[in-house]
Symmetry: C2
């Protein structure tokens, strides 16, 4: 998605430790017009799939997923991180190891919000090693539902997450795949897409 | 907002400790069509104000604020809770005591995302004792910006937060104000609005 890549080149900030900060338009300040284009692009990429529900995880996935859900005309569910004690009833749960924050947490979804046989589109802002995406897949499959697709705004293509998900046959679409980035030189190179 | 009140009566669940759960349409599963109506209603209520920016706090405010920001055609900023270490540079910070989770946390916004003199609309899903709203007000005022309004989806009118904010002169609009609720009887009574 050219508009997104141009914006990453213009406003993305590189930090040591392979960190790409997109705070100014994705996950602290949000550019809503850009997010509308992101939502439309996800709709275009998954137009051939019946989508019953969008699933994301708090916090920064929620805004993108909410905007995207408008284009699919379906409900959104966001998995809560385990400190959210305000869920009752049967739960779907997956443990996720966060590399960004260097801790393990549980992602939780009330069972009643994902139904057996449903087609679920997973949406998130970043994919690196795939920890969050794998946790959400686990939750969908625990529910007996199908992962109809995985839509990611920015994939770090130099980390393993995307490769492994594609090898496992998941329909993963990332709007921008960073092939490599160099903090010293301040360069970002995107993967060419089909 | 009648549509919202009807939905609360239909799908809201009461729990001991004055908890009103709206998990099925606001803050776990989101009904996007309803949230679109919420966004439009906020636009109608604050139509006389110039709004430069919408401010909310992670997590459950983000979806509502993102949808709402479309109607104001302005950027959204979401305050991060203090475990988000991924912010650098100068910060605006407020301490918030969460009654729901019985702990104190810091709300943080990078200083560069709220500018002096801007008119900021604060949006959140719930207002009870006003802890989160007061934290966000503190952040806006630290930045030298103006609180142009506070838009809340559900206010617990039997707690003090809304009353105190109105007494201090803030332009607070809540789409549904619960005057009282009775867990035993399962009844919810809304405040009549002007």
């Amino acid at each position: 998605m050219d508009l997104l890549k141009e914006r990453i080149l213009k406003d993305g900030e590189l930090r040591p430790g392979n960190i790409l900060k997109v705070d100014s338009f994705v996950n602290h300040q949000m550019d809503i017009k850009l997010m509308n284009e992101v939502g439309k692009e996800f709709k275009r990429l998954f137009a051939d799939r019946k989508i019953d529900r969008i699933l994301t995880i708090e916090a920064s996935g929620i805004g993108i997923a909410a905007i995207t859900a408008q284009y699919f005309d379906c409900p959104l569910v966001f998995a809560k991180k385990s400190q959210s004690l305000n869920i009752d009833g049967a739960m779907l749960l997956a443990n996720i190891e966060s590399f960004t924050y260097k801790k393990t947490y549980s992602a939780v979804v009330a069972k009643k919000y994902i139904h057996e046989g449903e087609n679920v589109l997973i949406i998130d802002d970043f994919l690196a090693n795939g920890a969050a995406a794998n946790g959400l897949i686990e939750i969908v499959e625990q529910a007996g539902a199908n992962v109809a697709g995985i839509g990611i705004v920015i994939e770090k293509g130099f980390q393993d997450g995307g490769k492994l998900l594609r090898e496992r046959g998941y329909n993963l679409k990332s709007l921008a795949i960073v092939e490599n980035m160099d903090v010293e030189k301040g360069t970002i190179v995107f993967r060419d897409e089909e």
